[in-house]
């Protein structure tokens, strides 16, 4: 056998073989499989591989040599975008999570124990962890009481996310109560209903009242 093949054809064949193989291809395996009937020296194969490597330098995938052979892989500079191909949606936040976040926003700095006092139930570590990971809250200190519990506060990322320039722009509870409770007095303030609203629904909230009057109770 041992048919001849041009340098161009050899490059095409090696390129396609590395691309279609399900694992990295070593030179030995190339010789044993796709090149088995062809008259190709080790030197010519090396040349073809090097030429391919150079061809792909400016491209989105690169020819690299790993322990078990050659393979094409994406440019590392593209990783931040490529990760989106495998994007997954995290589950919606629970009611406990949102109440905790709201208490941290309106009552900061606040300890976990204080949140638990208001909500009447324990706050799971997971909830706090999720908030910290999202960088919406951070620990700003420790309260000087037995156990020195962490004091939580919101972050600038939290304000950015909700499009606020400062906490004083958080809707005041008084204005909200009159607007929401009056209009929908017999409609329960269900979290589900709120959750279905588009984010822009926040725009329809009553204007935050002046900072000085912006009081909570």
């Amino acid at each position: 056998m041992a048919a001849r093949i041009s340098d161009e054809q050899l490059k095409q064949l090696v390129e396609a073989a590395i691309f279609v193989a399900d694992k990295p291809l070593s030179k030995e395996r190339l010789f044993d499989t796709v090149l088995s009937d062809l008259k190709v020296s080790k030197k010519r194969l090396d040349k073809a591989l090097e030429s391919l490597r150079l061809d792909y330098l400016p491209r989105g995938v690169q020819l690299v040599k790993v322990a078990s052979g050659y393979r094409f892989q994406s440019n590392d500079s593209l990783s931040p975008w490529l990760g989106r191909l495998w994007q997954e949606h995290a589950p919606r936040y629970s009611r406990a999570m949102l109440e905790t976040l709201a208490l941290i926003a309106y009552r900061q700095p606040i300890t976990r124990g204080e949140i638990e006092d208001v909500r009447g139930v324990a706050v799971s570590s997971n909830i706090v962890k999720t908030m910290l990971e999202r960088e919406w809250v951070k620990v700003v200190g420790h309260k000087e009481v037995p156990g020195r519990p962490a004091l939580y506060a919101t972050t600038p990322q939290f304000l950015n996310y909700f499009g606020l320039s400062s906490l004083s722009e958080l809707p005041s509870i008084e204005s909200l109560e009159s607007a929401v409770l009056d209009d929908r007095s017999d409609e329960p303030l269900s979290f589900e209903a709120a959750a279905e609203k588009t984010p822009s629904a926040a725009d329809e909230l009553p204007n935050p009242i002046d900072m000085k009057e912006n009081q909570l109770h």
């Binding site: 892989q73 593209l78 495998w86 995290a90 700095p109 909500r119 309260k143 906490l167 329809e204």
Partner: protein, 273 residues
């Protein structure tokens, strides 16, 4: 099975055949069936038929006959010969083959019936339905051959996949939260607190609480911070007041300590210890 040459004559006026068809027809009647069946390949071939229509098409095409002018008598005879051979070879003979034999026999008998004179409405050719089916099936058969010739994955081409760089991480899309949800959640928490009634929530100036967080954030846990560092002149009087209130609140809650070495010296604050 007992065709004589005569029925052929009956057939002629119906189809006004090309001489070729007639010649073929005659030749077929005279020659034994093994002209069409290579004996060694018989079984293999019989097994490859996809059904009675396929077998009929084979018989027709093999003899270069025209489907439109289907010579029903000779085709019926040959078809029955094949069916007999299949039975002899004890091939599993699908019921469809016998059904087709019955159809052929019926068409044949209708062809043999004398034609009525008053055929104004051009009595339908008894073969019409069979011819339609044969043509329809032949198109499908041809379509299948064409599909088989299409370039096909893992035969004519291989799908390519490159690996991702190890730095690629799946992106987790975090849930959206609206400001309204947040406010409603706070309200709900407050309602609960009211129901619990053991916790008194006092009025508080939100901007003060925000400043409290801010102060805790900028003062280190161990070192002292100059009191003046807490103030930003650009904020004006209101800012100074808010900061001052925040410091007082922090002291009240035992969160910070204020240290002044001597009167009028710089005031320093640090986390309470």
């Amino acid at each position: 099975m007992s065709d004589e040459p005569q029925p052929q004559v009956v057939q002629e006026p119906v189809q006004q055949p090309l001489p070729l068809a007639f010649i073929n027809g005659e030749a077929l009647i005279e020659k034994p069936e093994d002209l069409y069946i290579p004996p060694d390949a018989l079984e293999v071939i019989l097994e490859t038929f996809e059904g009675p229509l396929d077998l009929l098409l084979y018989l027709i095409r093999r003899q270069k006959l025209d489907i439109i002018n289907l010579p029903i008598l000779q085709i019926t005879r040959q078809y029955m010969d094949y069916v007999d051979v299949m039975k002899e070879l004890k091939l599993e003979l699908a019921g469809e083959y016998l059904l087709m034999a019955a159809i052929l026999a019926e068409v044949k008998s209708r062809m043999l019936l004398p034609k009525h004179e008053d055929a104004d409405d051009e009595e339908e050719d008894p073969r019409a339905e069979l011819i339609r089916r044969l043509r329809e099936y032949e198109v499908v058969k041809y379509a299948a051959e064409e599909i088989d010739k299409l370039p096909r994955q893992q035969r004519d081409f291989f799908v390519v996949q490159a690996d991702v760089d190890e730095s690629v991480e799946p992106i987790r899309i975090l849930p959206e939260v609206t400001l309204q949800e947040l406010v409603l959640s706070f309200q709900q928490a407050m309602k609960k607190a009211k129901n619990l009634e053991h916790h008194h929530i006092e009025k508080e100036v939100l901007s003060t609480r925000e400043r409290m967080s801010h102060i805790l954030d900028i003062i280190g846990p161990t070192t002292y911070t100059g009191f003046d560092k807490l103030f930003d002149v650009e904020e004006g009087k209101a800012g100074v007041v808010v900061t001052f209130l925040a410091v007082l609140e922090l002291v009240k809650e035992d969160l910070i300590e204020i240290v002044q070495a001597q009167p009028f010296a710089n005031i320093h604050i640090k986390m309470a210890s």
